[in-house]
Symmetry: C2
Subunit: 107 residues, 2 copies
């Protein structure tokens, strides 16, 4: 299993899966700031918050705080999807981990 | 603040917000079984998994395991919505808690 790094990705400036924020164990406000800056500094029309496992709750909190406190009336949660990935852990045991993607979009 | 009890509610048998499962700190499989039984034993067409705060990740896991392992091909996640509630905690401080609702529906 490859752990996703909790950092902001901006691969290029015009494809739709730009502006992805992967949620991990960094401080909560780092991610909120990361999301808010996608819209303010990087002029994104859309930003996607992705998380897996125990970080899913944190991802929802980040989306709620970004849209309701910092970008109220400007950005809303357009879509939410969940999924799960199965893989073998170090002991060779099958493990399932849930994932979430919250798509935020400019009004 | 009123803590939601982690139990299965089935108020009546024909209104749409029947078959609600509130996720709390009971064992994971209790909730999975609760959801699966909504469809198998109680012949529900729809079941809603609700959670708040740190239980959101668990709610997503429950939805994934119920739909992909136990009810594969029979039930899918039709809708996901998130929200947040603000309230004052014991110390009178404003606190925000995120909520999620995952609606599962028979195919």
């Amino acid at each position: 299993m490859v752990e996703e790094t909790p950092e902001t990705k901006s691969r290029s400036s015009d494809s739709q899966d730009d502006h992805v924020v992967f949620v991990g164990d960094k401080p909560f406000m780092n991610y909120v700031t990361g999301v808010v800056m996608q819209f303010t500094t990087h002029s994104a029309k859309e930003s996607v918050i992705k998380a897996r496992g125990k970080f899913i709750s944190k991802a929802v909190d980040i989306a709620e705080v970004a849209t309701k406190r910092f970008l109220e009336g400007e950005v809303t949660i357009k879509n939410i999807s969940v999924n799960s990935e199965e893989f073998k852990n170090k002991e060779g045991k099958d493990v399932r981990v849930s994932t979430i993607e919250l798509t935020l979009t400019k009004n």
